[in-house]
């Protein structure tokens, strides 16, 4: 029986409202327990003058699957950076924006993260995602599945048959061993099959006679009908276009009257860095993060994440095929384009974010503005939409920026004046505290995903014993002034503990257990399923390049599955 006692740490556990109290955390058999009776076998860590938080959770990252691999294939240059030799227990690593599978796991663990969700899995390619998941060590994983431009979805929405739509979602999650509903530029992926895009929420998708607005509301209703742990997770229409903040807010408004089936948001809108934009073209491009934050401050049915831009190399990858085509033309750079049969599209474009290019400077400010202007810290997650805004290894940089107005000011000195004029960032004095950071890097991620009851994002009894201990004393460090110290502490936790086992000590990997994979098995009434399967059999016979019988991800592709049950009440 392995027992561990973390003594006298300054604990930040927002889900249990613990804000820097000095406490002991007891661990037994991989779980947090109320307390343990000390025995000679109990390992004790003295965490006095250190910060103790639940293991980090990332609800939106791109760590595995065909898009990530396309990025690797088209960016062999990326693998020239980030080279780390193998050690006795770790395998060799390479890459920065699209690291190899092993590096994904080690680097997240080294940052104190223990659970990471892949944010875009086409059902058709889910097997590939799970094969990579199996190769990513240490962290627990799960994946959001693309439904936004799917024929079966659009037909059910057109027929206003929400029951059949719910049955399809349940089937799709099971087929992909996926966790939740992702929607990317709804309708746009299908329109892209004809070289077009949808121009807004009320534009009609070619050949389907439905609008993005109808797809989004239909999926939201079906999502709640199924009582899924996570809400719909949405990449808005018109992403990457100046003036898109209007569409973003309009999208939020669409969903004001939908009742969540559990205590959480109705929609999570992802990577605000790319969709809180004003202006009408690249010339008058400006931030409208303030307008988006105003809306968030008045409504609690929406959560968002930053998708913070990091200067330097990034590899953008998304199911938003038409947006990526526009990107590649604008930047005259290399591009891959993917078609996922009846399901969606995709595109990958490597690029560099460059200081003093005012468009990039403004985008950099947008993510920070949304995080700082939105009052409720639970509403905005810290992400970089890895590797779209930048690689996740830069989270400590983002933490330091959020905690220090001085650091933001120092950074702004390196940027264009247009950024100052066209964003509100230089006027924002707010500095987040340790508690806010614990919310934005773990607690809220777990809550938004619906994982708190499954042992993630907190340190209450029976939670998974995923704990991170940072080498920094909140009594002695003024984060506003000593932002470099803060960044360093978050870059190199003293310990990362996964299921009660030390996986990182002082920045070095010490164990490489295999993580679990969460997926959601939702039940639906038999009659809905019967109607669905009739449709699906026809589609597979007529259109798919693969047989229905070969489509489902088999269980042996999913290592250490954790199946969460859902379905009509």
């Amino acid at each position: 029986m392995s027992e561990l006692l973390i003594k006298n740490g300054r604990v930040f556990d927002p889900i249990n409202s613990i804000n820097g109290d000095i406490m002991d955390i007891a661990i037994k058999n991989g779980k947090i327990v109320d307390d343990i009776s000390l025995s000679p076998d109990t390992k004790v860590i003295d965490a006095s003058s250190m910060i103790v938080m639940p293991g980090g959770v990332d609800a939106h990252s791109h760590i595995a699957g065909s898009k990530v691999n396309s990025g690797r294939i088209m960016c062999p240059n990326d693998s020239r950076s980030g080279i780390e030799k193998r050690t006795k227990i770790t395998r060799p690593c390479s890459g920065y924006t699209v690291p190899n599978t092993f590096a994904m796991g080690y680097r997240y663990a080294k940052l104190g993260y223990t659970t990471v969700f892949e944010a875009a899995i086409p059902i058709l390619h889910a097997r590939h995602t799970h094969e990579e998941f199996g190769d990513i060590p240490i962290i627990d994983k799960g994946g959001l599945v693309l439904f936004g431009s799917n024929w079966q979805v659009m037909e059910a929405v057109r027929e206003n048959d929400i029951e059949k739509l719910a049955a399809y979602i349940a089937w799709g999650l099971s087929a992909s061993r996926g966790y939740g509903v992702k929607i990317v530029n709804p309708g746009g992926g299908e329109a892209w099959g004809f070289g077009k895009n949808v121009s807004g929420l009320h534009d009609t998708v070619p050949n389907f006679d439905v609008t993005p607005a109808e797809i989004i509301t239909g999926l939201a209703k079906a999502n709640e009908m199924l009582h899924l742990p996570h809400s719909i997770h949405l990449h808005c229409n018109l992403l990457g276009k100046p003036g898109n903040y209007k569409t973003t807010i309009e999208t939020m408004k669409l969903l004001e009257n939908i009742k969540p089936s559990m205590d959480r948001q109705v929609v999570h809108i992802t990577h605000m860095t790319f969709n809180a934009w004003g202006g009408t073209n690249w010339g008058d491009f400006e931030s409208k993060a303030d307008a988006v934050a105003d809306y968030l401050n008045q409504h609690d049915h929406v959560t968002v994440d930053m998708g913070q831009l990091i200067f330097g190399n990034a590899t953008t990858m998304t199911a938003d095929g038409p947006m990526q085509y526009a990107n590649a033309r604008l930047l005259a750079t290399k591009w891959t384009n993917g078609d996922v049969e009846l399901e969606d599209a995709s595109g990958v474009v490597p690029l560099s974010y460059i200081r003093k290019m005012y468009i990039h400077d403004i985008m950099w400010a947008v993510g920070l503005e949304v995080a700082l202007l939105t009052k409720n810290p639970w509403q905005v997650l810290l992400t970089t939409d890895h590797p779209n805004g930048g690689p996740f290894v830069n989270y400590p940089e983002v933490i330091a920026l959020l905690m220090s107005a001085r650091k933001r000011e120092e950074e702004m000195l390196k940027l264009s004046n247009k950024m100052r004029d066209r964003t509100t960032l230089s006027g924002i004095e707010r500095e987040l505290d340790w508690y806010d950071i614990a919310i934005k890097t773990r607690a809220s991620h777990a809550k938004i995903l619906g994982l708190t009851d499954h042992g993630k994002g907190h340190l209450g009894a029976y939670a998974d014993a995923d704990v991170t201990i940072y080498h920094i004393n909140p009594d002695q460090v003024d984060a506003g002034r000593e932002h470099a110290t803060v960044k360093k502490a978050f870059e190199k936790p003293a310990y990362t503990i996964k299921d009660g086992e030390f996986v990182v000590r002082n920045g070095e990997i010490t164990a490489t257990p295999e993580g679990r994979t969460f997926w959601v098995n939702a039940s639906v009434p038999e009659e809905d399923n019967t109607r669905l399967m009739k449709d699906l059999r026809l589609k597979f016979r007529k259109y798919y390049s693969i047989n229905l019988a070969n489509y489902m991800v088999q269980d042996n592709y999913v290592k250490h599955p954790v199946v969460i049950k859902a379905g009509g009440s």
């Binding site: 240059n77 990326d78 005259a332 750079t333």
Partner: protein, 253 residues
Amino acid sequence: MQTVTLIPVMQSKISIEAETITPNNFAGKTREEIENITIWEGNHKTRLFEFFKIALEGKDSPENTKIIINGSIPRVKRVGEGMTDGMILINGDVDMHVGAKMQGGVITVKGNADSWAGREMKGGEIIIGGDAGYYLGAGYRGESCGMRGGKIIVFGDVKDYAGEHICGGEILIKGSAGLMPGISNNGGIITIEGNTEIPGAEMKKGTIKINGVVETLVPSYKQEDDEEIDGIVYNKYTGDVVAGGKGSLYIKK
């Protein structure tokens, strides 16, 4: 002045990674220190003295350091990588990546250089008396910039993709070039005195001048008025239109 002479005493069948052979790394060192400099033979770590007999004269700074390799080293890669100063003279052939990422100084190869000579170099000069392989002065796989500065002169022929993704600097090929020299040229100058095929595909900017015969020309170049340079009349083209390019392609009439 410091002069270090290396005489190959053993040839390896597998490649030797020798990015440590630079004036920067040799300058100021004793003979014993130089003999013990690390090189890699495949995945086996070894030292210079295993492959070279080393003679040393003087002791000086990198800019006053000259390395003479007396003999062919056809399996020794990355000689002069990243050097900023001084001279390397190779009296024979050399393997791939000679002068890669070089920033200054001069490398002279009396024989042939294999592929990737001057890969991503930023400054300095490489003179190759014989032939050069593929990807002369190019960027490595996936890079958006090859050579950015400096000069490469090849007296013999070169193989395909010379100056691929070149962003600056100058390449002069006295002989002929293989397929697609200056592909994705983004600001470099390439002169080919002999023949070549399909020059300048996807060129964005920069100049390519060819005095020999061009077998095939990509169709996406716009013909301009003829131009005379140094007494030679050239067909002038701009493109590559496919890449929205404004590069200049001169082909002798």
